[in-house]
Amino acid sequence: MAGGGDIKIRPLEQFQLHDVWGLGSVHFTQANAIMALGAALVLALLYFGSRPQAVVPGRLQALAELSYDFTYRMAVDQIGPEGKRFFPFIFTLFFFVLMGNLLGLVPFSFTYTSHIAVTGALAIMVIVMVTFVAVREHGWKFLTYFFPAGAPKFLFPLIVPIEVISYLSRPVSLSIRLFANMVAGHVMFAVFASFVVMLGGASILGAVAAAFPLAINVVLMGFELLVAALQAYVFAILTCIYLHDAVHLH
């Protein structure tokens, strides 16, 4: 590899799915494997974390209690006292997304939240549940959600379409935000890593210069750790805000 110019950057290849276990038309891909691993890790944390029941918690128990407290406070602060009912849902959602983001940062792993199919399914589940909760709480009065009480009557034909569109665009923005964050982060890793390979193959001077993109990748890894936690938090807190709207109607 003399020139280095013959290397093509193909940063989107890392998102391809491969079967790890297949049976006829049933495909168990690496994304499914990581999903199962993430769920098992959260279950193991809660099981082994809540077993000691010490008054002064050890590290594992403290982690389990902290994660419980954190999501519980998030649900109750945002939704109100009714948040207790939705706490298990918020907890599951937060940790499923968090595990997807964090496990994806392990080298040679796979980020299942980088697929719009996964985040889109999660967002559709959220919006269907929010609508269901709103209809069950308020019945037909749920429709007043699309026309705020204090608004002047003649603005009716203007406000209702805007509110309906903004309601329907929620799952779109919710899913694309998470998916775009993960894809952009991992594509940046791939682009800078290919700079390292290109420069390293070029010459002695290039090999020295290759330290810079490598250093950028190390910094990016720290930044992506922040983004992974932040996007899981944003996904969960927006779900809380939507649930608050459903329970209280504005």
């Binding site: 989107l12 694309i176 935000r177 775009a180 964050n181 894809v183 952009a184 594509v187 938090y233 944003v234």
Partner: protein
């Protein structure tokens, strides 16, 4: 103009949107600094809000970046 040059130009034009995101994130943090300077006791509550606003604004930047990646690599 050939297609290869046009895709590169298109990707460059797509990320012009980042200017607006830069202004937005700057606004968020300037407001955060001002509010913490005025009332340092509120730091814990305001900081979380600022980070939430940052994440929501950053997502807009990533939409533009994603379009640029799609133009370049697909």
């Amino acid at each position: 103009m050939d297609v290869a040059a046009a895709t590169k130009l298109g990707a460059g034009i797509a990320v012009i949107a980042l200017a607006g995101v830069g202004i937005g994130i700057g606004n968020i943090f300037s407001a955060l600094v001002t509010s913490i300077a005025r009332n340092p006791a509120a730091r814990d509550q305001v900081f979380g809000l600022g980070i939430l606003g940052f994440a929501l604004t950053e997502a807009v930047a990533l939409f533009a970046l994603l379009i640029a990646f799609l133009i370049l690599f697909t």
